[in-house]
């Protein structure tokens, strides 16, 4: 029995002028599952991410997000970007890490808790005059930040500016920052890019822990097939903006059109061509 859907993408099309980046795409990501989105460069994966997180407004189609615990549901294409993160609770990371480089790791995680802290600070007015409510809220926020720093192994670098951390640490910090927004759906854009084998194995374990311990649903773009095949519950394959396969890891791996998209041509076709030229 499959879990209920958390994100339902229906007939999503995104055009940039004459270019169709995503064409009539429908799939769903399910609660407490890791859904991977794969495909060659330019297949429209990041475009889809930008639609889901509100950076693009889709030309056609619907993106529905259902919260697993309460029955709240959101039509993401209608929400402004910041409300997708604040109300629909979709968090994301970026392909090129986007940390606040001049702020410390701890400050980065506090910015992620901006909205609850804003409320606690009485929209600045109360906190300006030293409200104890805000002091307590900030204390809790720091505790939460410390928890996530420990989870990604950066507790001892909390007071270092994010910009001087090594690349792998920056990637982990970005995930920790996304987690500080209390998301129900976490969208990761190539989290393993630029990581070495050990780091990427740690990342796999971390993502599984997020799913199993914290009940987070994850939508993942990844090129590293090792990561994808190992941790994904469900894989969606895109090529030129069109969905060419959708299913569990082993189904997708053996799907001929996926092989064709990744390797250029299918085996039979290759054999046929070779026969024609007389090899």
């Amino acid at each position: 029995m499959s879990a209920p859907p958390i994100l339902t993408v229906e007939h999503l099309t995104m055009r940039f002028g004459g270019l169709v980046a995503v064409s009539d795409l429908s799939f769903c990501a399910r609660v407490k599952e890791i859904t991977a989105l794969i495909g060659p460069n330019g297949a429209g994966k990041t475009t889809l991410f930008n639609c889901v997180t509100g950076f693009y407004k889709p030309t056609v189609g619907r993106l529905r997000l259902d919260h697993p615990h309460d029955n709240a549901s959101f039509l993401l294409e209608r929400l402004p970007g910041f409300r997708i993160a604040r109300d629909a609770r979709v968090a994301r990371t970026f392909q090129n890490v986007r940390l606040f480089a001049g702020m410390t790791a701890l400050e980065n995680l506090l910015v992620a808790q901006h909205n609850p802290l804003m409320v606690a600070s009485g929209y600045t007015v109360l906190a300006l005059f030293g409200s104890p409510t805000y002091a307590r809220a900030q204390f809790r926020a720091i505790d939460k930040a410390r928890y996530w720093l420990e989870r990604v192994g950066l507790a001892d670098r909390a007071d270092d500016p994010a910009g001087v951390l090594p690349y792998g640490a920056q990637r982990r910090l970005e995930i920790a920052r996304a987690m500080c927004t209390d998301p129900v759906l976490l969208c990761l854009d190539e989290p393993a890019a630029g990581l070495n084998n050990r780091e990427s194995a740690e990342l796999n374990a971390f993502l599984r822990a997020l799913r199993d311990e914290h009940g987070i649903s994850i939508l993942l773009i990844e090129h590293d097939m090792g990561v994808v095949m190992e941790i994904s519950d469900h894989i969606v394959v895109l090529d030129y903006g069109v969905k060419i396969a959708d299913g569990a890891a082993h189904d997708v791996r053996n799907n001929p059109s996926v092989i064709a998209a990744y390797l250029g041509v299918a085996d039979e076709e290759l054999a046929q061509t070779e026969a024609e030229v007389g090899l």
């Binding site: 997180t53 509100g54 950076f55 970007g81 910041f82 409300r83 997708i84 993160a85 604040r86 968090a91 994301r92 970026f94 090129n96 986007r98 940390l99 606040f100 480089a101 001049g102 702020m103 410390t104 701890l106 400050e107 506090l110 910015v111 992620a112 808790q113 901006h114 909205n115 802290l117 804003m118 600070s121 600045t124 906190a127 300006l128 805000y134 900030q138 720091i142 410390r146 909390a158 007071d159 270092d160 500016p161 910009g163 001087v164 920052r177 996304a178 927004t181």
Partner: protein
């Protein structure tokens, strides 16, 4: 340069140095040939006479040649950097006193009227310095914290000044009621500017804010019925000491406190008034930096897209930054109006915006102490060199170029984190983004 392939500091021969010097001399010749070498003067009959000063030109070119030759030799062969002239002990001493610098500065600011009581000119100068410090603090919120390059800051100064002048004159309200009103009206002007520029950053934002500053000035100049146009508003009510006017009457400040009347009382009062306003601005800014809104401003400066992805409402965050900065500008404007007693659009030209921005940039974006030091140096320095007359601008320009070359991030170039777990380490400016660096795509 042919030396590129050689090790870091190649020894430079006399010939190469001479070549470098000759090039500099050629540039000097090109620059000064017409400016110094040839001169037109009014002759005895009133006609223009053409005179040449080739000897002077030759002297200048020769001086440039020799200077550059020696400099090239010394720099390349002795491997000199400015830092080496400063002993390490001196450097650590400077770093050691840095935390106390702000306190010392404040203590000095508090006793200024006592030290300079008899010197009206210096007191006026100090009032001017503190006014610019306050303007710098206000602009620092917009430029230093939120990273929004604002070239039209003087518009809010003007809105504050005119609001105060008009409300005080037409409704006869006291300074203490008009002051917040002026601040609120300026904050509204800030939001009015904020709306159309929400999507803009960097150069584009700078151009629009520049235009906004001019629009406000032109409105003041042309709306004759309300603002008096180029004639300005004369006879703005002077501030009173909580109802006691500064005059020689028996209900005046001096008589009430049993002092003999002196016009300096008002000046001292004005000084403490602007100092209090500046300190309030400073306190609010420092406090806001540690609140979510302040962190959101800094995050916005670092990366706007990441802010949106974290659920920060960038629209309201930017608008509050504009409104806050504008409000403090408005307070300073109200003070300016009450001090001068007369305001006209001429006080609110682009040059003022540029001057305040220069204070913020030279002081170090986001640094309160830096802004205070820069305001003192710039306003005070400008007055100090008054006797140099037209060379004043030259010296001033050269000093600014030197600062931008040697301390490109301003005098106080580090960022202090707003919160820390274990230890508090300042962040070097190199990795902190500011309003001048382009946002990543």
């Amino acid at each position: 340069m042919p030396n590129d392939v050689e090790p870091a500091h190649p020894r430079l021969g006399a010939f190469a140095a001479a070549k470098e010097a000759a090039l500099a001399a050629l540039v000097a010749f090109g620059l000064f040939a017409l400016m110094v070498g040839i001169r037109t003067e009014q002759g005895p009959t009133g006609a223009l006479i053409f005179t040449t000063r080739f000897a002077l030109l030759a002297e200048i070119v020769a001086a440039v040649f020799v200077g550059r030759f020696l400099w090239a030799l010394i720099r390349r062969n002795a491997n000199i950097s400015i830092g080496r002239f400063v002993p390490t002990s001196a450097k650590t001493a400077v770093l050691g006193i840095a935390p106390y610098a702000a306190a010392a500065f404040l203590a000095f600011a508090l006793i200024v009227p006592i030290i300079f009581y008899g010197n009206r000119y210096l007191l006026d100068l100090c009032i001017l310095i503190v006014t610019y410090t306050m303007l710098g603090f206000g602009l620092n919120i917009v430029v230093g914290l939120a990273g929004l390059l604002d070239l039209g800051y003087v518009a809010f100064y003007a809105v504050g000044a005119y609001s105060y002048a008009l409300i005080a004159q037409h409704f006869g309200l006291s300074f203490w009621i008009c002051l917040p009103l002026a601040g609120i009206l300026a904050a509204f002007a800030g939001m009015l500017l904020g709306f159309p520029v929400l999507r803009l950053r960097g150069d584009y934002l700078a151009i629009v804010t520049l235009g906004f500053g001019e629009i406000i000035r032109l409105i003041l100049l042309n709306w004759q019925d309300l603002t008096g146009g180029p004639n300005g508003i004369p006879g703005i009510p002077r501030p009173s000491f909580f109802g006691l006017p500064f005059n020689s009457s028996e209900h005046g400040f001096a008589a009430t406190f049993g002092l003999s009347y002196s016009p300096t009382h008002r000046i001292v009062f004005l000084y403490y008034l602007i100092l209090a306003l500046a300190l309030i601005t400073n306190w609010v800014t420092l406090r806001l930096r540690r609140l979510p809104i302040g962190r959101a401003w800094e995050a916005l400066r670092e990366d706007e897209i990441a802010c949106r992805a974290l659920g920060v409402n960038t629209t309201t965050t930017k608008l509050t930054a504009f409104a806050m900065g504008a409000m403090f500008g408005g307070f300073a404007g109200a003070f300016f109006a009450t001090r001068q007693g007369f305001i006209s659009p001429e006080s609110f030209t682009f040059a003022e915006s540029a001057f305040v921005l220069a204070i913020v940039v030279l002081g170090g974006m986001g640094s309160q102490l830096g802004v205070a030091v820069a305001a003192t140096a710039m306003v005070g320095g400008f007055e100090l060199f008054r006797e140099f007359d037209q060379y004043r601008m030259l010296v001033f320009g050269a000093a600014m170029v030197a600062i931008v070359i040697y301390r490109p991030r301003g005098l106080v170039a580090t960022r202090t984190p707003s919160v820390w777990l274990r230890e508090h380490k300042d962040i070097p400016a190199v990795i902190v983004r500011d309003a001048r660096t382009e946002t990543p795509a």
